[in-house]
């Protein structure tokens, strides 16, 4: 939050000067006046992210249950709506164990590092035209990537500090995994940045607004690469080797329990949110409403309140079916909350003086919707796909994704040149270059498969040890 922008004057004038205050207090006040938005946003993030993470877990469990034809948590609160809170309480009350021979300092430091990294990187994300902590840092997206990659240090240090074989193997695995997949992700991001032409997050979204099309349509391959790579970066199935229960008990978290464990846990889910937000910003048009630059479709602005209201209606419907009166009342409360939020979203549409809040609110709504969709894809894949073997993982990363990503960067560049210099329609350019990229990728993969088939020798096999990569 140090990146104070120059344009603070209007807010200063909006506050009356209090002459009797001492200078220091005045200074503090000026700080607050200058940056109240940033401070509130930071507080909101730090306060809300754990809650969100808990509810993401609940959603995950519910989804798993649904896909497995079960009910999932139903006891705590109606439909287990209070389950996350119960979990949090349990975790906080657990005994906090530090194993002997563990390096105390680093054991204590590691979860904090990964948590802090995730949170900090969240700071640069724009959850909407209004809600951003680091306002106009001009390397925004890089900041997000770099800082979130610091979480890696937390993981590897934790694994090393707990002085256990499972932990260190998990740590080294995850290090190798992250290092190899960050490359691919970086290339994917680069090809999106080529389209955007800037590093500032808002500028990226504005670029999509102006070009009138989300970059997922102009660089689909890049989006695919980023999807896979981000799954691997967050150590989630099918790439969850660092914490593969069947192989290493819990990977680098084996020796952790209670509060520290929950820190790691939060870090992971925060990371999911971060990568989801990055993907949303880069490829899915950030906080933009679908068809945001088609004016005769502006009536779509009514959608957010309608959706929230629909949720409320559903809650009312479920309320009648609750076995216990307490739960009925709770459902009614939820329904009322939903209606209230819907009202908050709806009113500015119709009351002219409040129009200026519309982009902020709706943008936040759309942004969160897209992020949750992205996370929903994560969960879907996790429940669907089996786990990879480590050498398969490395193989996928180094032999397929990275070459594909490199080729894709070139392809996007070519597409831009075609569009800019030769005046092609960008749809056409994107389609052509993507097809070319796919062809080249197919050629590469085929070539590599031939070579591996040729050289399937014990020498080649013995190279894939857990420290590889």
């Amino acid at each position: 939050m140090l990146l104070a922008s120059g344009k603070v004057e209007p807010r200063v004038q909006s506050f009356p000067v209090l002459p009797q205050m001492t200078s220091t207090l005045q200074a503090i006040l000026t700080l607050l006046q200058t940056w109240w938005v940033e401070i509130t946003c930071g507080v909101v993030i730090v306060a809300v992210v754990p809650l969100i993470a808990g509810y993401v877990v609940l959603v995950e469990r519910k989804l798993m249950a649904d896909m497995q034809a079960r009910l999932g948590p139903m006891r705590v609160g109606p439909h287990g709506l209070l389950q996350p809170i119960a979990d949090a309480v349990k975790l906080l009350l657990k005994e906090d164990i530090i194993p002997d021979n563990a390096d105390k300092l680093i054991f204590w430091l590691a979860p904090v590092i990964s948590m802090v990294a995730a949170m900090t990187s969240m700071g640069a994300i724009a959850f909407g035209p209004a809600f951003q902590v680091a306002r106009d840092i001009n390397v925004g997206i890089l900041f997000v990537i770099g800082v979130s990659s610091l979480g890696l240090l937390g993981i590897i240090l934790g694994g090393w500090a707990s002085n256990s074989h499972y932990s260190i193997i998990g740590a080294i695995r995850s290090t190798a995994q992250l290092v190899s997949y960050e490359t691919a992700a970086g290339f994917a991001i680069v090809s999106a940045l080529l389209l955007a032409g800037t590093l500032k997050i808002r500028a990226i979204v504005d670029a999509q607004q102006q070009s009138g099309v989300w970059f997922i349509f102009l660089a689909p391959i890049a989006f695919f690469i980023y999807l896979v790579a981000s799954i691997a970066e967050t150590n989630r199935a099918p790439f969850d080797l660092p914490e593969a229960e069947s192989e290493l008990v819990a990977g680098y978290m084996t020796e952790y329990s209670g509060f520290r464990w929950s820190l790691y846990f939060l870090g992971e889910y925060a990371n999911m949110i971060v990568v989801g937000s990055v993907a949303t910003t880069l490829f899915l048009g950030g906080w933009l409403r679908p068809f945001s630059n088609v004016h005769w479709l502006d009536w779509l602005d009514i959608l957010p309140p309608l959706i929230i209201a629909a949720v409320g209606v559903y809650c009312v419907y479920r309320a009648g079916k609750q076995p216990v009166p307490v739960q009925t009342w709770f459902m009614w409360a939820v329904a009322l909350a939903c209606f209230a939020v819907a009202a908050i979203f709806a009113v500015p549409l119709f009351v002219a003086p409040l129009k200026f809040v519309v982009p902020g609110l709706h943008g936040a709504f759309w942004f969160l919707l897209k992020v949750s969709g992205y996370i929903y894809v994560f969960m879907w894949l996790r429940f669907t796909l089996p786990r990879y073997r480590f050498d398969q993982l490395m193989h996928l990363g180094w032999y397929i994704l990275i070459p594909l990503a490199i080729v894709n960067v070139l392809a996007v560049g070519v597409a831009l040149i075609l569009e800019g210099e030769f005046g092609w329609n960008h749809w056409l350019a994107a389609a052509v270059t993507s097809l070319v990229t796919l062809g080249i990728a197919a050629f590469l993969v085929n070539l590599h498969d031939k070579r591996t088939a040729a050289a399937s020798s014990p020498a080649a096999a013995s190279v894939t040890d857990p420290y590889a990569g």
Binding site: L2, I106, I145, W160, A171, I172, V463
Partner: protein, 175 residues
């Protein structure tokens, strides 16, 4: 005022953790402390309005090089505390020499400051908000006037990559 707060904070962190890094006996602790130093330095860069260097420092140094260091430390299994047996005398000599060097440079700087009209502070730097956007500026000069060095550096990186692979390659007949 805010500037000075930020600078002293980061400089203090940097120097303190650097000193700790040199004196700690556990290599991993040293690595963590070095990470801290680097992050503090990155803060200094940010305070200097060099955002791209700042982020490059974070991504390359902290996210890349330091991870590599810690990785290697774990590979060579060197978490035993190392005694400084052989280097006692050398350590004292080194401390003395470093001290002498520091004193010399300090004298130089202070003295140079007092020279009439030709202090160190030669011109008042442009204020933060009048700076051109850092990244674009950097990119422009990097790809126009420093293109050749840029290519050379990329070749250097390639060479280093090949060299590192050759060095660390585990020969099949070794095990």
């Amino acid at each position: 005022m805010l500037d000075s707060i930020v600078f002293y904070f980061f400089a203090g962190v940097a120097v303190a953790s650097a000193a700790l890094m040199v004196t700690r006996r556990n290599a991993v602790h040293s690595a963590v402390l070095l990470v801290t130093t680097l992050l503090a330095t990155a803060g200094i860069f940010l305070q200097l309005r060099a955002e791209f260097i700042f982020i490059a420092q974070i991504i390359l140094y902290v996210g890349g090089i330091m991870v590599l260091f810690i990785f290697v430390i774990m590979l060579v299994r060197l978490d035993v505390a190392l005694q400084h047996i052989r280097f006692r005398l050398q350590r004292w000599v080194a401390l003395f020499v470093a001290f002498a060097l520091g004193v010399e440079i300090t004298i130089v700087l202070l003295f140079a400051r007092r020279l009439p009209g030709q202090g160190l502070l030669i011109q008042e730097p442009a204020s933060a908000d009048k700076l051109p956007p850092n990244t674009e500026e950097l990119a422009r000069s990097l790809f126009s006037s420093y293109l050749l060095p840029f290519e050379i550096v990329s070749v250097l990186l390639l060479v280093a990559m090949v060299g590192a692979v050759v060095m660390a390659k585990k020969r099949i007949n070794d095990q």
